[in-house]
Symmetry: C2
Subunit: 137 residues, 2 copies
DNA sequence: CTTGACCCTGTAGTTACTACAGGGATTACT
DNA sequence: AGTAATCCCTGTAGTAACTACAGGGTCAAG
């Protein structure tokens, strides 16, 4: 059995996790990724555990978590996981996304209604412009 | 009839349009608002037309237009309005918002499904963390 | 050895704002 | 007139989440 520990450079790590190479440094600066051991030349050396952590961050992002929330989840993994707290974070995030969806839906509907009044012809008369230009009181 | 031209300072303009005072400078830097005449002390003096332009920008933002698109609409007002082009911009914007809504909806649903598997108890066992930690191939 | 790709750190750009600092100007009140 | 509070000016920098570039050192393959 091959028990040799796999090591990654920053570029190899980024590629393995399918993130931008600069994003690795960015997450390090933000404290999500640790500052890893270095070669004598100063090159970062990452382990398999680092890769798994980076993939965790990527998945959290895909689930709509902000980096701050992701950081909280990581703190729990580093320390003690409390499923109740995790669920709180997740539910708050769901509410946040719901609010964004509601916002965008309202905007989309409003714009759609206005745009439907455009004749769509090459004329200076335009319902959308009129709407934006409605005189103020 | 009172025909005196109303003039605004930057702060008064921002207040009249219900935008942040610094936003006025920001829009000026971005080219959406003109660099207005000044007093001898260097204070900006805005007219009613400036106010109407700022409100136009605000309304465009409320309809989900990005500043670049708003700039295009303003260029038309300054020059020639072509309703066909306006409608193109609006329809593209509607598509953009639709895509955002679809994105967020997928994220929300995915997160909801995972969070529903959390027991919500003060335990180290947590379905969401497990999902983020699923081993990589 | 050479070359190309990689790494390092630092800096700055994207979008749409928003806030702060230092210093001058204005306004209202005494 | 003096004073204090508020406003304005320009410039700078911060927010979130990245991403790109520069100059210079390092590594690996031919």
């Amino acid at each position: 059995m091959n028990t040799k520990k796999r090591e990654y450079s920053r570029g190899a790590l980024a590629k393995a996790a399918s993130v931008n190479i600069e994003t690795v440094r960015f997450y390090e600066q933000k404290g999500l990724m640790p500052n890893p051991p270095r070669t004598t030349a100063g090159y970062r050396r990452y382990s398999q555990a680092h890769l798994e952590r980076l993939i965790f961050i990527k998945r959290a992002k895909e689930l709509g978590f902000q980096l701050e929330e992701t950081g909280k989840l990581l703190s729990m993994i580093d320390g003690e996981i409390d499923c109740s707290t995790v669920q709180d974070i997740a539910l708050a995030n769901i509410e946040l996304i719901n609010a964004k969806i509601a916002d965008l839906t309202q905007i989309r509907d409003s714009l759609k209604e206005t745009a439907s009044k455009c004749t769509g012809e090459h004329t200076p008369e335009c319902a959308l412009i009129e709407r934006l230009l409605t005189p103020v009181v």
